[in-house]
């Protein structure tokens, strides 16, 4: 694809556009299994620069793929059809912190943890923290409707977006939403942009709701011999009306992996649950923690440890925080892949889903870990395989298909927090045939020439293995 790099350099400056093969190769992948080379990478700094790039791209029908940290697990930022990768990390200013209005205005490249560091002196925080909050950008989180460990109490990104500035495919700038907590003035288009995976516009500024940091946080860990018991304990905690601010599951495979990778010395049991309560009244936090502890004990949970101390909480949580990458250390010769990684299932199905995942993995000769923000119904899995063996990718394909068939039959969803993009598109499209024409119509209205992150979501290919090159050297 021919892209006029000199034209782009005139817009963003010589040092902020590259067509060097080294840069293109680095920007050809993210944290997913996919890989495809862009034609050019640009790094705009201002809204005006983004508009000019979009006008040029739209006129010449060149794909534009917005990118934050490039930590997507499903291939959101992989430029399947070449074109311009727009790296938005230079737009990283926190524009306004308005404690009285309980909101912040940020550029899309602001990193989640940096935002929370800036909010801390005000006694405020931005809650939808994904495990990758130390590098994830707000723009990327909006694109994926990210959620995380505290979403069980505080919700996902969509729940915090009040308004945003968006550059459309034709370069026009629109102001969506408001500075108010609620509004009913027309379509809530700002909410439509959340989770749209860069297919409808480039978010260049976001107005986000923020909340007070609770005075007390107590985190506990409970061990279980059986994964099923841990899953049932989670379901009961939620249905009991308890108010966890974190409710996480990690299976035995995950425990072994973090012990191997990080030397954490966790008890190598069937599963663990992390549960947290927070609030401004210590007695209320104690009450919630006690209630959850009793439910865990009822389901054979043992050696339950809890702490209010920040250092101790960090220690307890560290295994879960670093689990994703650690899984590759579970066994020699395998690596951890993101294929079917963030199903959402009804609360009553947590234990059943966890057991089913292990069954499907065993039947298909791969190893799968089960973990996640199960209090919110988010079940993470990772498929561990030998990436050089073609047969293992075939096995993985069967696993993905079987797994999603089960999840959909159980009333669950394909993705609860990472989005669809490429890896999950075939299963999602199969399950949501009814909404695809509607989504295509919206896309056509906003991006008639289909230049914004094309071939993702409803337009993604039907086979994730052949959709792009796999980023591994598959030899047999």
């Amino acid at each position: 694809m021919k892209v006029d790099i000199e034209r782009l350099r005139r817009i963003v400056g010589n040092n902020n556009a590259s067509d060097n093969v080294a840069d293109l190769y680095v920007y050809s992948s993210d944290a997913s299994v996919h890989q495809a080379m862009p034609s050019v990478v640009v790094r705009p700094k201002t809204i005006g620069e983004v508009q000019k790039i979009m006008r040029y791209a739209n006129k010449n029908k060149i794909p534009v793929i917005p990118r934050g940290a490039g930590s997507s697990t499903s291939g959101h930022t992989v430029p399947i059809d070449g074109g311009i990768v727009m790296d938005l990390k230079r737009m990283n200013c926190i524009l306004e912190i308005r404690p009285k209005d309980m909101l912040v205005k940020v550029e899309p490249g602001v990193v989640d943890d940096d935002l929370n560091s800036a909010l801390k002196p005000y006694g405020l925080f931005y809650p939808p923290a994904p495990a990758s909050s130390r590098i994830a950008t707000i723009g990327g989180e909006i694109g994926a409707n990210a959620s995380g460990i505290r979403s069980v109490k505080y919700g996902a990104t969509r729940d915090y977006v009040l308004g945003m500035k968006v550059v459309l495919a034709n370069g026009d700038l629109v102001n969506l939403g408001s500075n108010t907590r609620v509004h009913s003035a027309g379509y809530q288009l700002e909410r439509l942009i959340v989770g749209s995976e860069g297919t409808l516009g480039i978010v260049v500024e976001a107005t986000m709701r923020i909340v007070p940091i609770p005075k007390f946080r107590c985190l506990a860990i409970a061990n279980f011999d059986k994964l099923e018991d841990a899953g049932n304990a989670i379901s009961d905690i939620i249905s009991s009306g308890a108010q966890p601010s974190m409710l996480e599951l990690m299976d035995g495979i995950g425990i072994v992996a973090v012990n191997k990778a990080l030397g954490l010395g966790l008890q190598e049991v069937g599963a663990i649950i992390l549960f947290e309560a927070d609030g401004n009244v210590k007695e209320a936090v104690d009450y919630e923690i006690q209630k959850m502890k009793e439910i865990c004990e009822k389901h054979n949970g043992f050696d339950i440890e809890m702490s209010y101390d920040l250092q101790e909480r960090t220690r307890i949580y560290s295994g879960r925080k670093k689990l994703f990458a650690s899984l590759s250390r579970y066994k020699e010769g395998i690596i951890c892949t993101d294929l079917a990684d963030d199903m959402g299932v009804p609360n009553s199905k947590i234990a059943e889903t966890a057991i089913k995942i292990h069954e499907i993995a065993k039947r298909n000769n791969v190893i799968m870990a089960v973990y996640g923000h199960c209090g919110s119904g988010v079940v993470h899995t990772k498929i561990m395989l030998d990436p050089k063996k073609k047969s293992q990718w075939k096995d993985a394909e069967h696993v993905v298909e079987e797994l999603y068939d089960y999840v959909h039959s159980a009333g669950g969803v394909t993705s609860a927090e990472h989005g669809i993009a490429l890896s999950k598109a075939p299963s999602w499209k199969k399950a949501r045939k009814d909404v695809i024409p509607v989504m295509k119509a919206i896309k056509k209205a906003l991006d008639p020439d289909n230049i914004l992150n094309p071939h993702k979501l409803m337009d993604a290919p039907d086979n994730w293995v052949t959709a792009t090159n796999l980023r591994y050297q598959v030899i047999s």
Partner: protein, 362 residues
Amino acid sequence: MRMKPKYLKDWEQEMNICIRCAYCFEGCPVFKELGWESDGARGKAILSYGLLSGEIEPSRYIADKIFQCTYCKDCVERCSASVSIPDILTAARADLVDAGFASDIHKHVIENVKTTGNIFGDTEVISHEMKGEKLLFIGCQYLSRPNKTKKYIKILEKLGTKPDIQKETCCGFPMKALGFEKEFEEHKKKFLELFPNEDEEIIAFCPTCAMFLKEEYELNVKHASQVILDKIPKAELGMKVTWHDPCDLSRGLGIIDEPREILKKLGIEVVEMRHSREQSSCCGGGGGILMSDPSLSDEIAKSRIREAMDTDVDTLITSCPTCEQVLKKAASEISESDGKNIVVRNIEDIIWKGLKKNDEDS
């Protein structure tokens, strides 16, 4: 030109284990300064993978990116799978050197080590042999700073350790880190002839030498600060300082509390910087960039000095001669440009001051 990777082959599985999560962006000093993903640890690992797979061909541009790393190991510290990016880069550098992409300045340094046994190529930079009880490894950086070395030796003597100084040669770290594998293998033999006994305890002054002696030669090495902590008497210097953790001391050897304890014993209050201990920020002096890309090194050092200035103390102390050198330069430049001042000192100066004060008080 298609490269024939020899050294990178051993790292293929580690590069596959890297899930490209980007957690290593967070503290990478080169990425923070330059901002392109190809400047960060993940980007360099991806480039290394591309060189191995043959998807990209070696070029000057790629070689520059691979050599723009300070080897601070912040990426390893933050990696959930403990993938050692510096080791992958060492292999990539070795393959690039084999393919003819060594820089002239790096070739010059390696030639210096080959001909004189030290990185400066100065035949006068030699160890003055001295019979004693504890074997001491001084290293190129301290040997080129004779006054500092004398002071450090006197400190050990005052604390009851009589150093045994032999003829020495460069530890070989620059050869290894800069990708001169063949030269390093030859040099390693020379080094082991001088230091053959892996059981004998060796005290090292330079954190990088100490780390390399331990990791590469599996020698029984202690950094001087560990020896000094055991014996240093209390003093009341009454200073308030910040401590810069040298990467090879903190992340490399896990020596984090010892220097702080020494300062505490000397009656010095340490105010921590935003990034400290295991997550300390790099000074910008390591990995060869001080030679091949001094302006980048300088910018990284200035960022560190600005962080030190945020603590509102007037003195920064460290225990690495390279850190001291680059941070001093950065502090001086910031003083000129911004009018803000911070004094950079090495720990041996402070320990010496403490011992003198202790003598006076008693």
